[in-house]
């Protein structure tokens, strides 16, 4: 174990994996000098033969990832901000997510797309989106949202070595967190949720950037005598339905925390799953703490007003714990 920052963990995986497998190529805008720091040294180490610092043209970049993979390479595409997923959406939705199926499974598409997502830093509407609901809905691409440096390492390694298109979404903005990271080869399997904090009374399922405020909320709830289980799906596609269902079956209550906009967001999706599968175990309404259906405003106060935070999570929990207690009173 070594303490590393989230972004360093990512950078280290990129360097290690490109060293390990000469078939990996990496490309994207400004990957040479690495505006986020995650591709630092990659160009210097592996050179212009394997690393392409590209012009600004997301529509081609996403399609090129598909072509390079179809031609037999293992591809890492850095898309910088999650918003640019919308800019390069055509080939994502139409080629990356569909080509394997449409060809009857003739090709593998080992592609890892890296992008940083989310708001909270006054970057305004066009640099603050959390676009994973679209990726989840198109079907055919994996989506991973590591919350810790260790999971960043383990999930990115699994993504790169895997044979499917995978969006590795960085909590870049607030991703400066440090944490213990296992040394050497370390893979986290897709589709296995992590229990970030054990509890009995309510399940708080929090995604990516939202794990931290959820843990804070759990600590605050403890002081109120409420034992919250914080569960982090870690990968949204594939999704650990069983893992979440087990927690909900135990606690009987569910609060979802999601930085994506509410409508057709990941929180809705999980709520929908559980309202079917765990209905009989549920003792209270399923609550969602999400960003409302508007884009991120610039001003700090306006942004934080619509952003999920520990207080809102605590309030959501209290609303169903007390409702339930009343029903037993």
């Amino acid at each position: 174990m070594a303490r590393q920052r989230y972004i360093q963990a990512i950078n280290q995986v990129l360097l290690d994996e490109m060293e390990r497998d000469k078939n990996i190529i990496l490309f994207g805008e400004d990957v040479e000098l690495a505006i986020f720091g995650d591709t630092r040294e990659v160009f210097a180490r592996f050179g212009p033969e394997r690393v392409y610092n590209t012009p600004i043209c997301e529509n081609s970049l996403t399609g090129m990832a598909v072509g390079a993979a179809a031609a037999g390479r293992r591809v890492i595409l850095h898309l910088m901000f999650g918003n640019f997923i919308y800019t390069g959406m055509d080939a994502i939705a139409h080629q990356m997510a569909k080509l394997r199926m449409m060809t009857g499974g003739q090709m593998n598409l080992p592609i890892t797309v890296i992008a940083g997502y989310g708001g909270g830093r006054s970057l305004a509407a066009q640099h603050s989106d959390t676009p994973y609901p679209t990726l989840m809905n198109i079907g055919g691409v994996n989506v991973v949202t590591p919350a810790t440096p260790a999971d960043a390492k383990g999930l990115l390694t699994t993504a790169i070595r895997g044979n499917n298109p995978t969006f590795f979404l960085e909590a870049s903005g607030r991703g400066g967190d440090s944490g213990e990271v296992p040394e050497g080869d370390y893979l986290v399997p897709f589709g296995k949720a992590a229990v970030a904090h054990e509890g009995q009374d309510v399940t708080i399922c929090a995604i990516g950037t939202m794990v931290r405020p959820a843990l804070k909320a759990a600590r605050d709830l403890e002081k109120l005598g409420i034992s919250a289980e914080v569960i982090d799906p870690r990968t949204l596609v594939p999704f650990d339905e069983d893992g979440i269902a087990a927690s909900v079956s135990k606690t009987g209550r569910l609060v979802l925390v999601d930085e994506a906009k509410d409508r057709c967001g990941a929180a809705s999706y999980i709520a929908g799953l559980m309202a079917d599968r765990c209905f009989h175990a549920l003792k209270a309404p399923i609550k969602r703490v999400t960003v409302p259906n508007v884009s991120m405003p610039y001003a700090g106060n306006a942004e934080s007003a619509i952003f999920p935070n520990p207080e809102k999570i605590v309030a959501a929990v209290l609303s169903i714990v007390s409702a339930d207690q009343k029903s037993f009173a």
Partner: protein
């Protein structure tokens, strides 16, 4: 073999192969057109009839290890690059023996083992894929090319300029083949296009060749130049093949047009005439140069029609697609 041949045996064999390939596409598609109009195919088809010389000329100089990306009008490219007729028909009938196991259909025929990375239902969808494949080739130092076949309609998609630029910057081994049939669905492409497409390629410094797309040998010659350049590290070339789509945008076009039209019968007739139709033209040449007799060509035609009949039978006799398959193949090693 005919008596008074002006061409040597090797050339003769090569020409006959080109001719047969064009004829196979023609007869296969005529049959598909009939079947589509009779309602025997699950989906629609976009026929390549009239453009055979372009695809056949292009693919004639490629190896199985070279890649092509294709379009919604992709049957001709598929067959020209060596795709199997029976497997293609089975695909169009939605059968499990189809080249894509019935999952792709007409707009998605692909055979990766032959370097056919797929027809594409997104206009311009193959452009960046070809650029990426060429990037992949270059990184691996392989002696291959990626060829992007696309239409004049697709040429107005911005992704083309993006990918042209990168192919020029990094000397990617990619050949851009614009099959200019003058039409984008029911729109005359010229009416929505400023300037010449080749000038856009020249603007990024690519060499360009404009060629009679209904002359299979002319297309072949242009491609040879381009492939040589690409495989010897000289980078990308932009080829425009001037051709014409004789059939409707898609079969059953009339139903879509509802009595309106975007071209005259005269115009179509001009392109169907023996001096324009790529197959009639090449047949005349073969006979004229003594490479074949009219009888030999007729015999070949009967053979080809026989192949097409057999492919239809194969498709019809095949088992329906596996409806569970989609869950297994969306991802590799992971159920959707």
């Amino acid at each position: 073999m005919s008596q008074l041949s002006n061409v040597d045996e090797a050339k003769r064999a090569e020409w006959m192969e080109l001719y047969e390939r064009m004829l196979l596409i023609r007869r296969a598609e005529e049959r598909l057109g009939k079947e589509a109009q009779a309602g025997n195919l699950p989906g629609g088809v976009h026929l390549y009839i009239g453009q055979e010389a372009s695809g056949v000329g292009v693919c004639s100089v490629l190896e199985d290890t070279d890649f092509i990306t294709s379009t919604h009008r992709g049957h001709g490219h598929f067959l020209a690059k060596g795709g199997d007729l029976k497997a293609m028909f089975a695909e169009l009938w939605g059968k499990r023996t189809g080249i894509c196991k019935g999952m792709g259909g007409s707009m998605h025929v692909a055979d990766v083992s032959k370097g056919i990375l797929g027809a594409n239902g997104i206009v311009g969808g193959g452009i960046a894929i070809a650029a990426g494949a060429a990037m992949g080739i270059k990184v691996a130092g392989e002696k291959k090319v990626a060829v992007c076949l696309f239409g004049d309609g697709a040429a107005n998609q911005g992704v083309l300029m993006e990918s042209l630029n990168m192919s020029a910057v990094w000397s990617f081994p990619v050949i851009w083949v614009l099959e200019n049939n003058g039409l984008s669905e029911f729109t005359i492409t010229r009416k929505v296009t400023a300037g010449e497409f080749t000038d856009r390629a020249r603007a990024v410094g690519l060499p360009t060749i404009t060629v009679d797309g209904n002359d299979v040998l002319a297309v072949q010659a242009a491609m040879k130049e381009a492939v040589d350049r690409a495989k010897s590290g000289g980078g990308s070339t932009f080829i425009e093949t001037l051709t014409y789509r004789i059939r409707g945008h898609l079969e059953a076009e009339d139903a879509f047009l509802g009595g309106y039209s975007y071209r005259t019968q005269d115009e179509i007739d001009v392109w169907k005439a023996p001096d324009k139709d790529p197959i009639l033209r090449f047949a005349a040449r073969l006979i004229q140069e003594g490479a074949a007799t009219a009888e030999e060509l007729e015999e070949l035609d009967a053979q080809v029609i026989g192949q097409v009949d057999e492919a239809v039978r194969y498709a019809l006799d095949s088992e329906d697609a596996d409806p569970e398959l989609v869950f297994d193949i969306t991802f590799s090693g992971q159920r959707a």
